[in-house]
Symmetry: C2
DNA sequence: GTCTATACCGCGATAGAC
DNA sequence: GTCTATCGCGGTATAGAC
C-alpha cells in the first residue's frame, strides 16, 4: 500500500511490465500479486498490459523465464571467482542473501496456482535442478581432485546443499530475522567441512 | 473442486470447523483457503461459522495453535522410540514424510498474510523454534556422551537439520516428486555422519 | 446456535475509443 | 499501442429470521 510506483521510464512498456512482475513476484509471490499492481509499478495503463500479455499468467511466465536466465548467469559469474571446487561450494552457501526475502524460485513452490500451471512451474523446477547439478559437478570435481572424500553421493549432497539454503529462508521468514538464516548457513558449513578429506 | 465434504459429524460445530481448517491450511495454505471451503468441509452453515469465529484469521489462529500442540507431542512420542541421541537426530531426518504436502508450519512462511498477523505467525515461529531446540538438545546430549564430535555448534547444526527438512519440501514440490525429497534426506544423513566421533 | 439472503469489494479480464 | 470505462465473479463478512 506504499511504493507502488517505481517506473523504469527508459524501457518499453512490455519490458517495464516484465521487470515490475519480476520484482512483485519476489516480494509477494504469484497469487498475491495483482495485475493492477503490476500495471502501477510499470507505469502503464490498464489496456496496455492486456495488449502485451493476454493474462496474468503470461506476464508471470515471461518474468520467470527471465529469472532463470539471469540467476543462472549470476551464479556462473559468482562461482568463477573461486578457484577450488570445494571452496566454490562453501562460497555458494555463504553467499550474502536477504534471508527474509527468500529465493525467487523457492518462494513459488508453496503456491498451488504456480504448481498447477506448467508454464509457471517449469522454470522453477528447471532452475532449482540446474543449481543442484551445478553443485553436484563441483562436488564431483572436488572428489576427483582429492579435496573431498569420495565415499558419498555428490548428487544427494548437492540436493541437500540447495535445500539448506531454501530451508534457511523458511526459518528466517518464520522468525523474521536474518540471524535465523545465518545460523542455518553456519551449520551447513560445519556439516560440509565433515566431507573434506582428512589430513 | 472435488472432495469438499468430509464431515466429522460426531464433534461439535466449532470442533469440526477447527479440524477442517487444519486440513485445508495444510493442503492449500492460508490465503488460498476460503471461509466457504472451511464451512463446506466442516458441514456447517454460513452463519454458524461466523457465530463461533468472527473472522477467517480467528479460525486459522486456533487451528495453528492446535497444530503446535499436536505436532510437538507427536515429535516427543516419535523420538521416545530411539534410545541414543545421535540416533534420534538421524531418526528425525529419516522420518517418513509426504514431500509434496510439506510441513504444516513451513508452508505458512511464504504467505505474507500469515507473516503480517502475529496471531498466525506466532505459532509458526514458536513451533519451528521448538523443533530446533529439541534437536539442539539431542546434539548436545550426543556430544556429552561422546557419540558426536564436540567441536561444532549444536545450535547452528540443529537449525540446519530443520532447514534441510524444510528445503526438501521445497524441492519436492518444485519437482513434483517424492524422490527429490528423499535425495535431500539422503544427503542430510551423509552430512550428519560426518559429525560422528571418529573411531 | 444455526440458517438463508444479501452486501461490499477487489481481482481478473474485456470493450471500444483514440 | 495506449487509454478509460465497464463487467462478471468470488472472497469475506453482515443482517436478521428461526
Amino acid at each position: 500500500m506504499k511504493s507502488t510506483e517505481r517506473h523504469h521510464p527508459a524501457a518499453s512498456s512490455r519490458e517495464r511490465l516484465v521487470e515490475a512482475t519480476r520484482e512483485l513476484l519476489w516480494e509477494q509471490g504469484y497469487t498475491s500479486t495483482t495485475p493492477a499492481e503490476i500495471r502501477a509499478r510499470a507505469g502503464v495503463g490498464q489496456g496496455s498490459m492486456y495488449h502485451h500479455f493476454p493474462t496474468k499468467a503470461d506476464v508471470a511466465a515471461e518474468a520467470m523465464l527471465r529469472n532463470s536466465a539471469e540467476l543462472e548467469r549470476a551464479m556462473d559469474d559468482y562461482l568463477k571467482q573461486t578457484p577450488s571446487p570445494a571452496g566454490s561450494v562453501k562460497s555458494y552457501l555463504s553467499k550474502p542473501r536477504d534471508g527474509q526475502k527468500g529465493c525467487r524460485f523457492g518462494r513459488m513452490t508453496l503456491d498451488n496456482a504456480v504448481l498447477e500451471n506448467e508454464r509457471l512451474r517449469g522454470p522453477v523446477a528447471d532452475s532449482l535442478a540446474w543449481y543442484r547439478r551445478r553443485i553436484e559437478h563441483l562436488l564431483i570435481d572436488g572428489q576427483a581432485r582429492g579435496e573431498l572424500r569420495d565415499d558419498f553421493s555428490a548428487e544427494a549432497v548437492a540436493a541437500t546443499i540447495i535445500a539448506i539454503v531454501q530451508g534457511a529462508h523458511v526459518l528466517a521468514r518464520a522468525d523474521r530475522s536474518q540471524a535465523a538464516f545465518d545460523r542455518v548457513i553456519e551449520g551447513g558449513l560445519t556439516l560440509l567441512a565433515g566431507l573434506e578429506r582428512r589430513a
